[in-house]
């Protein structure tokens, strides 16, 4: 009976991105009904760009359009004054024991997992990627009830399957990482406004003022400069694979499209409403524009890995679109910065 209760009280929420989804669904479950995916993403300053130099992932460039794994949950909860608890484990048995304990207390929890062994994912998506997140919200006999935010419906994993993905190995190995909001006090409207402003300001800092040239808006130029050289340096085939990797990081399930830019546009639109500041909502359009440009560049890149576009001028054109994107995003964050937002 208790299990049924667990099953019925937790509400599955499908989102574009897994960590936003876990954050939003867990906070909503704790009674923060105003939480939406764009708010979690914005309060957590989720938008980013980085190309990590000299590092390859799956034999392609190491590029990310979002902030570090785990940061969105941590920052959003902390900005809302929500205490969180998280644990990693050295033993698989210990990890399952703790999970069972939380579930027996009716506490749905977030788990970091690897997707390589994630049985309900399409096989084509199962690479060794360890920064995926899902919610475990109950247990029936030997089956754990899973709410994976990128999936349309809830699903299940056996104890063995769940342990396997919680102890995936390689980069970002989850080590059974489990996390959940521990105590939530009343969240005032003022706190929400403060969390939004803080999120925006941190995002301005990350995109405009991060030192070095490989991250933030300058990181986009860094990649653009690389792309110009790829045709002669790597040859058309490998260059195509590299571009394909960018498109996957940018558009694959989990991004909401346009390298998270549409998601940030949606955040500013909601933020403008909550802050009662039309200027913020208007800047949402700049990120829509940026997202559309990212998608245009993806179409061009697809021309290369399809083998349709082979000239150096095609690579230059892709790089030029990226420079335009950099200009749009730089201008947008500068204008956000000039608003001198404060939470009234």
């Amino acid at each position: 009976m208790e299990l049924n209760h667990v099953e019925s009280s937790f509400e599955h929420l499908q989102t574009a991105h897994c960590e936003n989804g876990v954050t939003t669904a867990l906070l909503r479950h704790q009674g923060l009904d105003f939480m939406t995916e764009p708010l979690a993403f914005g309060m957590g300053s989720g938008l980013f760009y980085i190309q990590i130099p000299f590092l390859t992932v799956n034999n392609g460039p190491a590029i990310s359009f979002r902030t570090m794994p785990g940061a969105i949950f941590k920052r959003t909860c902390s900005a809302l004054g929500v205490k969180i608890n998280h644990k990693r484990f050295s033993s698989e048995a210990g990890a399952q024991e703790f999970l069972d304990l939380k579930l027996s207390q009716d506490v749905p929890v977030g788990c970091q997992v690897g997707v390589f062994h994630l049985t309900y994912f399409p096989k084509e998506y199962r690479f060794h990627f360890n920064a995926h997140n899902l919610i475990v919200y109950g247990k029936q006999q030997d089956h754990y009830l899973i709410s994976d935010p990128v999936m349309e419906t809830v699903t299940q994993l056996t104890a063995e399957e769940l342990t396997k993905v919680r102890f995936a190995k390689g980069t970002f190995a989850p080590k059974g990482h489990i996390y959940y909001p521990e105590s939530i006090s009343e969240v005032s409207a003022h706190t929400v406004r403060k969390a939004i402003v803080k999120g925006i300001k941190r995002n301005i800092r990350d995109m405009l003022y991060i030192p070095g040239s490989v991250a933030g808006v300058d990181g986009i130029r860094y990649t653009a400069n690389h792309i110009r050289k790829w045709r002669s340096k790597l040859g058309p085939r490998k260059a195509g694979l590299y571009l394909g990797q960018i498109v996957r990081m940018q558009e694959e399930i989990g991004t909401g499209g346009g390298g998270f830019r549409f998601l940030y546009g949606a955040f500013l639109e909601q933020a403008g409403g909550i802050l009662e500041d039309d200027r913020v909502a208007q800047l949402s359009d700049e990120f829509t524009k940026s997202g559309d440009l990212w998608r245009n560049s993806a179409i061009k890149m697809a021309g290369v890995y399809k083998g349709r576009l082979t000239e150096q001028s095609d690579f230059d054109e892709i790089a030029d679109i990226m420079l335009e994107i950099r200009a749009v995003e730089k201008d947008a964050f500068k204008r956000l910065s000039k608003l001198n937002l404060s939470a009234k």
């Binding site: 994912f121 084509e124 990128v150 394909g244």
Partner: protein, 132 residues
């Protein structure tokens, strides 16, 4: 992206799920919509898999030619690199690189080989007897 421009191309997501995207509706506001996939990224994923297949085929040939040990083949087959394999076996990368050599592989103990077999989710016999 406008809602009506959201692609609905067939993709590997297929029967598993549709993905949630953020799009602009008719009145210029953001809303969410579900997409079955987009050809542009389906092709990116396909080309990544073509690359994987090629690496597996090359590894198989290398085993057949006596240049690499079966560990290289199964490592590629499981989409691993040395560092991921090191995570699953607990064996340091320096040693894994040695174990990729057929001459070293031949002298390895069953105990050590079993660690690899477990990581690849195959039997010890399959690992030992793979000839390419």
């Amino acid at each position: 992206m406008k809602k009506e421009d959201l692609p609905q191309d067939p993709s590997a997501l297929g029967a598993h799920t549709r993905e949630l995207c953020y799009v602009k509706n008719d009145s210029g506001k953001y809303e969410t919509a579900l997409s079955q996939g987009w050809e542009v990224k389906k092709l990116a994923l396909d080309s990544a898999w073509d690359e994987v297949e090629e690496r597996i085929a090359a590894a198989q040939q290398a085993v057949k030619d006596g240049v690499s040990s079966p560990i290289r083949y199964f490592m590629e087959l499981r989409l691993m690199d040395v560092s991921v394999l090191s995570g699953y076996t607990g064996i340091f990368p320096f040693f894994i690189k040695r174990h990729l050599k057929p001459s070293v592989f031949k002298k390895m103990s069953d105990k050590k080989l079993q660690k690899y077999a477990d990581a690849f989710e195959i039997t010890l016999d399959t690992l030992k007897n793979f000839k390419g």
